[in-house]
Symmetry: C2
Subunit: 331 residues, 2 copies
């Protein structure tokens, strides 16, 4: 194998992401130097945050550079190493991007134990999405047993973990998701107490029925009308973990229309980025890994078959077409 | 004096408050029973929260009852007492409403020392408005020396204290107010570093010029466009104390259009009601009283001449016509 494939950002999207924003390139296989590791990626993670990086609007992170490999989390296996801490055959996770192979100096590369946890799970419930759920639930929502926790995008990689952590804590877990299939999965497979299908056209009424005691904590991934509906049901001193506003990823404004509720119900809202809290990752990933290994934390994956399919899968993710964690299989 | 006057809520407003929402009534002077105190009110406090109570929309407090004395904070003097802890001549503050006299059983009635602090100041910087500023600034904003603190309605009873506390803490204090006069007062008399006149039509540009290092903390009294402009200038990990949304008191929606900033700048926002934190009032009022007595905390009052003038003064307050703490003189 003398060449490999990667996908670069060809142009920034104006509005919705399009296939033409990406370019598939064939590259010569790199030769590693002293202290470097060559990794064959097995899975690429697709995540909503990537949409933000494709724009050059001011945000918490620098924009993705044009013509460079798209940013992304990966799991794979070491195929060559001139680094003392990594050996050929090691399973690793890193941020090697939309690419079949990657070179690392070991920084931000982490060895994985696949004895009880599948390799791909390290991009989902035992990776960044799982940690996002863990941090927001434990550090921001701080829900007590008996409280009602609502999470949007409930069947997704983050939302599915939030609801299951809430159940483990003794809370009432209520999801919001798009479509009957996703809602059935959230309740029947993941064990949420209820799930509201926002596409059914009765968001306010259905959410009221699903939260008879109001809402004490919201884990928000979507924003817009879904968030406003949840705010309207909050109890006094409710908490909001603001994790994503996917409703506005194409550049639309995502106003909070129910802003008055923040005051009248004395809510506390916190926006957060899980990568800024790396000190808690060892604890969180340890707990999440144990829950996955013991079968207490379930997850589901949507897997695109190869790198060339990544742009289409990513566009689908932004429109909610994925069902569970969206991955791209590279090998 | 066998009669006294009071103002009751005659009807709930639809939209803007109107004079016809109120009714001035002449009442027979009450006779107090055992354990009661009769108080002659000297000043009535007018505050934006009263607008919320006039509606019967769900909020943090029960609505004001129709036909009953309008709610409100007062300072006055005991004129008759059958209560062991209060004597004729004592100065007191209480919630005796829009009324020349009031009867109390001593609950929520507090004796005042007017040696170094004027009686009316106990309705302003050393009363509920001052405590609102103190709580939001110290407990929510937690600003450090050198940080930039922005407060809307900066010349008002709450905002004026927020900015002066920020200066005492070593912060950069920036006000937002309506009109050149108010802005000049905020800078020249109260010592803020800058003040932006939102009526001048250059809100974004003027706020940018006044906050060259961005905004670390917002004390929000207004909501709407003023709040959105401040959110757009926030630094990472900024804090927002959400105290009021006077822009929406007539029932209009007050959306947060810049909601994305809450996420991208990882802000923490908390809505609060100072009366839910009574445990901190002794400490806060002690500090505020000392600052007023020593002249380090300045304040200004708009005084309506008698009870009959209260409705007009209240409508002016909601439109920003007051300049400093709005009071009604009753004696």
């Amino acid at each position: 194998m003398n060449t490999y494939q990667r996908i670069v950002l060809a142009e920034r999207p104006s509005g919705a992401v399009q296939a033409s924003n990406f370019r598939l390139e064939t590259m010569e296989m790199p030769v590693i130097g002293d202290g470097q590791i060559l990794i064959r990626n097995h899975y690429l993670s697709l995540d909503p945050y990537m949409r933000g990086r494709m724009s050059d609007a001011k945000s918490y992170a620098a924009p993705q550079a044009l013509g460079e490999t798209m940013i992304g989390g990966t799991v794979g296996q070491v195929v060559a190493s001139r680094h003392a801490k990594f050996a050929v055959g090691d399973f690793v996770t890193g941020m090697l991007g939309w690419s079949e192979v990657g070179v690392s100096d070991g920084n931000l590369l982490r060895k994985l134990d696949t004895t009880h946890v599948a390799l791909s799970a390290y991009l989902g419930p035992v990776g960044m999405p799982g940690m996002t759920a863990w941090y927001g639930f434990h550090q921001i929502l701080q829900a007590k047993p008996g409280e009602t926790v609502v999470v949007s995008a409930a069947s997704g990689a983050v939302g599915s973990v939030v609801g299951q952590l809430a159940k483990l804590k003794g809370c009432r877990a209520v999801g919001i998701a798009g479509g009957r299939d996703k809602c059935d999965y959230v309740v029947d497979e993941l064990g949420f107490d209820a799930c509201v299908d926002y596409k059914a056209g009765r968001l306010d009424a259905d959410l009221a029925a699903a939260t008879p005691d109001g809402i004490d904590a919201i884990f928000e991934n979507v924003g817009g009308a879904v968030f406003d509906a949840a705010l309207a049901r909050t109890n006094a001193f409710g908490r909001v973990a603001l994790c994503g506003m996917i409703a506005g990823y194409n550049g639309d404004d995502v106003p909070i229309r129910n802003a008055r509720t923040l005051l009248t119900n004395r809510l506390t809202l916190r926006g957060f980025i899980v990568s800024e809290h790396m000190d808690l990752w060892p604890q969180g990933l340890g707990e999440l890994g144990a829950l996955v290994a013991s079968g207490q934390l379930k997850y589901r994956e949507s897997v695109a078959p190869d790198l060339a399919a990544a742009p289409q899968a990513f566009m689908g993710l932004l429109q909610g077409h994925n069902f569970g964690k969206q991955l791209v299989k590279l090998i």
